[in-house]
Point group: C2
Chain length 118, copies 2
């Protein structure tokens, strides 16, 4: 499966998911799948880069081990980010009322598939 197919498949499996993307820790979006327009994914990629750095530092400082996933739930959208490898993350954007738990699960399941594509 290609990046496109994995991302599309992941969004399709989660009620309320609107997009999924592979983001480099340098802040560049590598691949995007959009089923419904939501937030600016270029902006998200750039912000994600900062968040990944901050949260990795927090996890180290608190002795949490490797930070595998982090998420933000807000009034308008939720974002889940999951680590593929030290250089890349996969993100999913969800609408309010989306199946957040399913989103976490599907994103986790997508990681080994995405890893093969690098």
């Amino acid at each position: 499966m290609s990046f496109s197919e994995i991302l599309k498949d992941s969004v399709a499996k989660v009620n309320g998911a609107v997009s999924a993307l592979v983001i480099g820790t340098d802040g560049i979006s590598v691949h995007e799948y959009i089923s419904e327009k939501s937030i600016d994914l270029t902006g998200l990629s750039a912000e994600a880069s900062t968040m990944i750095k901050d949260i990795t530092m927090v996890a180290e400082s608190l002795g949490l081990g490797v930070a595998r996933e982090f998420s933000i739930v807000s009034d308008k959208f939720s974002i889940i980010l999951r680590r593929i490898n030290p250089e890349y993350y996969v993100a999913m954007v969800l609408k309010p009322g989306a199946n957040f738990g399913k989103g976490r699960f599907i994103l986790k399941m997508s990681v080994p598939k995405l890893e093969k594509e690098f």
Copy 2:
């Protein structure tokens, strides 16, 4: 219910939850309940303060609206933070394999109870 009771009750309701605390956005822990020793909660409170600021800025910059909740899932522990009001957050620390979804739900349910105590 007092802070103590609400936090203790929240931890008791979630399989794998080890502690819950009320954190000020200034980085000071207001109240802690610990059922099992895990990470340094003073350190968590301080780091949470930085994360709250960063994530609030990210949410604003991406037009996400108010960030209600954020979480980190790592190899050793997971942390869920939920906004009580602009000055205070409630956090839950969970062991690997904990019921993360239940943790999110219970923390959300604790917010109106905690709000009354301020």
